[in-house]
């Protein structure tokens, strides 16, 4: 109690001057309430009820501290913890939702694959039927020829045609039966390795995969010294992993885009970002990525992804993006 009294006196003192401000909840408590409401409206409400309950209890503690001793350090601290707890519930809810989405997508993929295989089988069946029809037509013509004593030129011509047709159908059936399946299997395998290779990069970099492009973002601070465009030794391991993944991509174009923060002259930043992109390109080319499929561009400070007003934001803006797109 002894230790609380100075705090109480401060509040009473402040209260006589600014009666309202004392009863206002702290910014932390306001944030915590908002975070909790957001979490309640997120997928957490459906998937993470335990987490949500923990968030609610944390918020209640903060509210109690506010009621008992508004503006206290205890209120602010408990509100800070409550806000994080609510954010965590929200994130975990989103994770569970994404996991379910992924399972659904996987099922869709499997179904589609099965459907495609069935279609291939149907096409094979049709070809077989066509072959059967041609074969019986051929037999009929041969029978007629036998009756005509082998002297009918028209029938001879028809026989030749049917024989050629039969040969073609047999050939195409053989092609369909073997190559098509083999091709499909090879494609599925290649696709799997390529996708896995790109995905595995998220140990080193931020990877964002879209329907037709994948963006790998490498933080500038791990690649280069401030103001320099020569690669740091620590960057090489990351870039080697990137090169390994890129080598497996077929029919893709790769763009290396350098970005800087907003400090320094615009032109300097443009040059620096281009030089850095070129350094990365050179490294990747020297590690086996085909030079024809990869280009370097400098974007300077024009495309920030975060606030340039804070050190954290600036660090995120200094980056190199590797954009892998479909097509030639």
């Amino acid at each position: 109690m002894k230790a609380v009294s100075p705090l109480v006196w401060t509040i009473v003192g402040a209260g006589t001057v600014l009666a309202c401000s004392v009863t206002q909840p702290s910014a932390e408590l306001v944030d915590a309430r908002q975070a909790y409401l957001r979490a309640m409206e997120s997928p957490a409400a459906q998937h993470e009820q335990d987490e949500l309950l923990a968030a609610k209890q944390a918020l209640q503690k903060a509210e109690e501290a506010y009621e008992g001793d508004p503006g206290s350090r205890s209120e602010k601290h408990l509100a800070y913890l409550a806000e994080r707890r609510a954010q965590m519930a929200e994130q975990r809810g989103l994770t569970t939702a994404a996991e379910q989405d992924q399972m659904k997508t996987k099922a869709e993929y499997d179904a589609l694959e099965k459907q495609m295989r069935k279609q291939t089988e149907q096409r094979l069946e049709k070809s077989r039927e066509a072959l059967g029809r041609t074969t019986s037509a051929l037999a009929a013509v041969q029978a007629q020829l036998g009756q005509a004593g082998g002297k009918n030129a028209e029938l001879e011509e028809k026989k030749r045609q049917l024989l050629a047709e039969k040969e073609n159908l047999e050939k195409s059936l053989a092609v369909k039966g073997t190559e098509l399946e083999a091709e499909r299997e090879a494609r599925i395998k290649a696709e799997k390795t390529a996708a896995a290779a790109l995905a595995s990069l998220d140990k080193f970099a931020q990877v964002k995969a879209d329907d037709d492009e994948t963006i790998i973002t490498l933080n500038g601070s791990v690649l280069f010294e401030t103001g320099k465009s020569k690669l740091l030794p620590a960057a090489e391991e990351r870039l080697r992993a990137v090169a390994r993944a890129l080598k497996q991509q077929k029919n893709r174009t790769i763009q290396i885009a350098g970005h800087t923060d907003s400090r320094g002259a615009t032109q300097m930043n443009e040059k620096l970002s281009l030089d850095r992109a070129k350094s990365v390109r050179e490294f990747l080319v020297s590690h086996g990525v085909k030079p024809g499929m990869i280009e370097a561009v400098g974007r300077g400070e024009a495309q920030p992804v975060a606030e340039n007003g804070t050190a954290e934001g600036r660090a995120n803006n200094r980056r190199v993006e590797i954009i892998v797109r479909k097509g030639t």
Partner: protein, 124 residues
């Protein structure tokens, strides 16, 4: 009213003072640092949102070290608890990002299969 007041006193003194007796800054520091390592392992450094909370966690651990040096144990504990929860949040975000990326990859594979199906269909 009386009950509320005594509860408040208990809460205030627990939040600010008496808990120091049960959890000391050294223990909490180990816990917070473990949470930071967990966040790094989960890949929090590679997503801006997760990286932000990881940075907050690291900053608050650093701040706590200064408080410890100045023997301000209460302030140190507060900072360390905040660091721990920020690191935990960074883990949650990093995990979510990973799962979302997996789902996006799967969707792009479906799109590829669809394109192929149309092309083959057209040939037929």
């Amino acid at each position: 009213m009386h009950r509320l007041w005594s509860a408040t006193c208990l809460l205030a003194s627990c939040g600010l003072f008496s808990c120091a007796a049960t959890v000391n800054p050294a223990q909490q520091s180990a816990q917070s640092q473990a949470a930071v390592r967990g966040a790094v392992e989960a890949g929090a450094e590679h997503n801006p949102q997760a990286a932000l909370h990881l940075k907050m966690a690291r900053d608050q651990i650093q701040q706590a070290e200064q408080f410890i040096a100045a023997e301000e144990n209460e302030a140190a504990l507060t900072a360390l608890q905040r660091a721990e929860i920020d690191a935990e949040l960074a883990v949650s975000i990093a995990r979510k990002v990973r799962v979302e990326q997996d789902a996006a990859l799967m969707r792009s594979k479906i799109a590829e299969l669809r394109t192929e199906a149309t092309v083959e269909g057209a040939v037929q």
